[in-house]
């Protein structure tokens, strides 16, 4: 079931007189292809949860339309939309067993579509098997770990065979190790059920790792939509560039001058096709190469070794970022002097307009 969001806008009237309304979601346009996993990504307050609630029907849109396939569901109440929603807090009914929790949506059905008790139990068991909790059916939610509760919540959302599966911050209540395992689990369940799935997260790594597409939002406005790697490699603006990637991209004040990107008076990369202007220069941590002939000179602050990565924390007068970091491959780290010379990988260097912060396309000289 594809989902079409057509000029979707949600506006909350402001309570205090004279202040402007809060626009939680502003003119959201996107067609989510059938059977794909979409990650809505952004900092808190960016409107991603509101978007999810609009799709689920818990909130009604101020303007714009929502389509599930060929059905206009904009004004359809949530119970008739056929969505399964997994809450951040799971929202399991604490006084019911796992089985009763999963069967709950089925028991709501009235009339001829209502299943017999046996069929319900069977369906519940099927859903439980899909998320691998069939041995926990008679426990209460309080007797389960966070990860197990999460699976119960997913099973409850899946049991009524929804057209669309929605997940609100599904991993944020889990510890780091479980998060890794669970996100793969979500991907597996999604692939098996082939359900169009939308999930909300503020964790870019989570979104990048399992989504078919990610939607980066800020202040209710969609910043960029695309495949995770494309968005990472070609961020549309400085915000997206800064939001994606850990450690974050290093940003400098700089300019384009006489066919080169200039930072702190040094010509760090020869380029073509861009007029002279002031720019922000973003360099991914993995875009630095230690090179004695490199043109980019920076002051070393410290060298950190974390597992397989060696990173140099350094300083530069033109820096805008809080800290600058380069990840390098190097065995002899004692060889790093107080001043480090970097050469740069061209595809890891982005430039952004000073005023709009939009990305500027360029070509590397000689490439």
């Amino acid at each position: 079931m594809k989902i079409v969001l057509d000029h979707l806008t949600k506006r909350y009237p402001n309570r205090t007189k004279g202040e402007a309304d809060v626009i939680a979601v502003n003119d959201f346009n996107f067609e989510i292809p059938d059977g794909k996993l979409i990650g809505l990504l952004g900092p808190s307050g960016c409107g991603k949860s509101t978007t999810l609630n609009l799709i689920s029907g818990l909130e009604t849109a101020t303007s714009g339309k929502i389509w599930f396939g060929d059905d206009d569901v904009t004004n359809v109440p949530p119970e008739n939309r056929g969505v399964g929603l997994v809450f951040q807090s799971y929202a399991l009914y604490p006084h019911l067993t796992v089985r009763q929790n999963i069967m709950f949506p089925l028991e709501n059905v009235k009339g001829k579509d209502r299943l017999t008790k046996e069929q319900m139990k069977e369906k519940a068991l099927e859903a439980a098997k899909l998320v691998q909790i069939e041995m926990l059916m008679d426990r209460k939610p309080s007797q389960l770990s966070g990860g197990q509760q999460q699976r119960v919540a997913i099973a409850r959302a899946l049991v009524k065979l929804p057209r669309v599966l929605l997940l609100d911050e599904p991993l944020s209540n889990l510890d780091a190790r479980l998060r890794l395992a669970t996100r793969e689990e979500i991907r597996r369940i999604q692939t098996e059920t082939k359900l169009t799935t939308v999930f909300v997260t503020h964790d870019q790594e989570e979104a990048m790792s399992i989504s078919d597409f990610i939607v980066v939002m800020k202040d209710g406005i969609v910043q960029q939509i695309g495949k995770p790697q494309d968005v990472y490699d070609h961020p549309g603006n400085l915000f997206v560039a800064k939001f994606l990637g850990t450690p974050p991209i290093n940003v400098f004040e700089g300019k384009v001058e006489n066919g080169a990107i200039v930072v702190n008076g040094e010509r760090i990369l020869e380029i073509e096709g861009v007029e002279d202007q002031d720019v922000y220069v973003g360099i991914r941590p993995e875009g630095f190469l230690l090179d004695e002939k490199g043109t980019f000179h920076c002051a070393k602050k410290q060298v950190e070794v974390m597992g397989r990565d060696t990173s140099i924390v350094f300083d530069n007068p033109a820096s805008v970022s809080e800290s600058l970091r380069a990840i390098i491959t190097l065995d002899n780290r004692d060889a790093i002097g107080d001043t480090v010379c970097f050469a740069l990988k061209p595809n890891k260097v982005e430039i952004f307009k000073k005023d709009t912060e939009a990305r500027i396309d360029y070509t590397v000289k000689g490439a």
């Binding site: 689920s56 029907g57 818990l58 949530p78 119970e79 008739n80 969505v83 399964g84 929603l85 809450f87 807090s89 929202a91 009914y93 604490p94 006084h95 709950f104 949506p105 028991e107 709501n108 059905v109 009235k110 209460k140 309080s142 409850r156 009524k160």
Partner: protein
Amino acid sequence: MRKIKPWLYLLPAILFLAAFMVYPLIDVFIYSFEEGYNSASQTFRGVGLYNYMYVLRDPYFIQALKNTFILVIITVPLSTGIALLIALGLNSIPKLKDLFQTIFFLPYVTNTLAVGLVFMILFKKTAYSDGLINMLINMFGGSSIDFIDGPYWAKMFVLCFYTVWIVLPFKILILTSALASVDQNLYKAAKIDGTSRWRTFTRITLPMISPMIFYLIITGFIGAFKAYSDAVALFGTDLNAAGMNTIVGYIYDMLYGNGGGYPSYASSAALILFAVVLTITAINLTLSGSGNKK
């Protein structure tokens, strides 16, 4: 040394409790078995169950027991049910919730006797007026009823009405906060799954607030068994004459009432009340315990 320290901290409280709680309790227990006890001369004829026999055969006590039971059985479920309805109503009108919560809470901070006076005005038949309620009854074509000095059922109706009204505020307060503390996400989840309103109420709301309901029922039972001042406020101090005495009222009469001076009968009656309350509470706890098993 280490063992003594905590006891030292507790000592003041223990002393007070011993002097003002434990000693009198034991004393009451002893009095109830001392036959013909005279509080002036501190003498008694013998030890036995005569006091209990007397009290249980005393028609005034039987009447008080009957009144109290009727009061408890009618007002506790009724007041809890009405409070639940009002709390649910309050919860669904976010705008005026605070205003109504204040209005509903007013009886709680009003003095029992003052409220009794208001009820007298509402219900009492005097030479000049039949009272507000009777005026209403007359308006709808009924004939006046004397609620204060009239038939038993009318007096019991007023007493129950009054009791329900006076205990409502506290129950509403407890239940509105219980309702507000239910995780709103549960309702959202239920909504997404197309749960009907009735089913949401019976399968989610009720189980989630059931500990509070049980708390209200237990304290309601205990409170209603100890009713006394309410009856005095409505029917005056001579409750036996009005036929509206309660167990606590009977105990008071035995101690200080007209003739007064029967601490042994009073003690027996007090222990009978204690036994009744204990039994009912135990039954309540057993029922709620089996309902809430994890």
